[in-house]
Amino acid sequence: MTSPAMRHAGEASFSPARVWAMLLRYLYILRSSWPRTIELLYWPTLQMLIWGFMSQFLRQNSSYIAQAFGVLLAAVMLWDLLFRSQLGLSISFLEEMWSRNLGQLFVTPLRPYEWLISLLAMSVIRVTIGIVPAALLAIPLYHYSIFDMGWALVAFLVVLMAMGWSLGLAICGGILRHGMGAESLAWTVIFALAPLSCIYYPVTTLPAWLQPVAWALPSTYVFEGMRTVMFEHTFRTDYFLSALGLDLIYLAVGALIFFIAFHDARRRGALLQMGE
């Protein structure tokens, strides 16, 4: 019979052991396929190489770029971080859909929020595997280290990760609601935000009517803030706080979408049916 210890553990409203179990599961999945691990490294490294050589060329031909050689490289790496944090969460979520496993998971004592925490942790791991080697490779290749930004970099990471998660949560909610037909959202939605995030150009480049929309995105504050750090050697705390505030709103909205979609999936019986 189910032991009292097991019953007690199952009834606990939060269990680090369950979060760890789910994290372990995603690590097993990641480890079981080396092409997937290579793929995590592949795109950020490729991007860094393309933009690194482009920056070297521009440095010889542009006084603007000469002022801050790393601006394009930093922008491309930070953008990739945003993309990877969203994708890292969505892919781990999709692993469950592909293996038609939600029905098995949610008859265990696992709580949906424990699952979410494991998805967020996996997103951090995937981002680290993808971005850190590319950032390190830029040091010997271009004599540029993004880590020179210091604490400002930490602030940018926090803002971009949180934005990636809020998008990832909303996308997972969309997939729960609409099924695997909505799978492509995981790879496409973020690119709609790229022009508005002003990754490679200042916000003032946008038409005046579009600028308020850009300022509604936490990523815009990061890229503007990054340029301020690199050109003026100043960290804009006001940008950071605004971005953080927006992140909190979007995280709450993303989580709300996810939990509503999860509840709706239980109402429709989709937890048992979802899969490829």
């Binding site: 199952g10 009834e11 097993y28 293996s99 496993n101 098995q104 949610f106 008859v107 265990t108 048992l272």
Partner: protein, 249 residues
Amino acid sequence: MPDPVIFVENLVKRYGRTLAVDGIGFVVERGVTAALLGGNGAGKTTTLSILLGLLLPTSGRIHLFGEDVLRHRYRVLPRLNFSSPYVDLPHRLTVRQNLSIYARLYGVVGRKERIALLARDLQIEPLLDRPAGKLSSGQKTRVALAKALLNEPELLLLDEPTASLDPDTGDWVRSYLEEYRTRTGATILLASHNMAEVERLCSQIMMMKEGKIVDRGSPGELILRYGRTNLEEVFLHIARGARALEAVL
């Protein structure tokens, strides 16, 4: 008198205009193996999914171990488990990894020993380090059963437990379930349309048709009531009507 393990009253599940479960009610006492028996679309799997909390009912009361499942789902989940051939384990993980993760989710104490014991009992030791996706149907069923028994459930819910199995493996699974119930005093509820299986395993049957329980009783009672020689004929009688059945027989 202790609470029944399963208590269902006026359970209704509606999808738009479709009534999948139409006001059913039943009670299953401790240590009993019961079956929801019916054809495709009768509402068996829907009922199981509601009991598991994977599906929210439109209305009705469901108590497991005396607890209201809709309000206190997490009080009962540690005490039950579930197996279905229609729900997979991640294919790229090995059997051992899969079982280990579920053991952690259930908070199983002595995880490795429990997995080793089940692997020995269910004869899956040679499969432990193989990816779950590389197993045959029979092997998958035994692994799914191992997963379902990790927490030594007091209530085991099984959807078509021997679907797509050859007769030998099917018989082996049925024997194992009988042995588990006798040894632990667990309650088993299975959804099936395998008459021989239900006749052999179950002492209580709820016959379902179009979302309703149209009759209930032990296999012997049902066979006697309909004047038939086996449960399959009772099933056909209910599914097709008496006159249609006479034409077939």
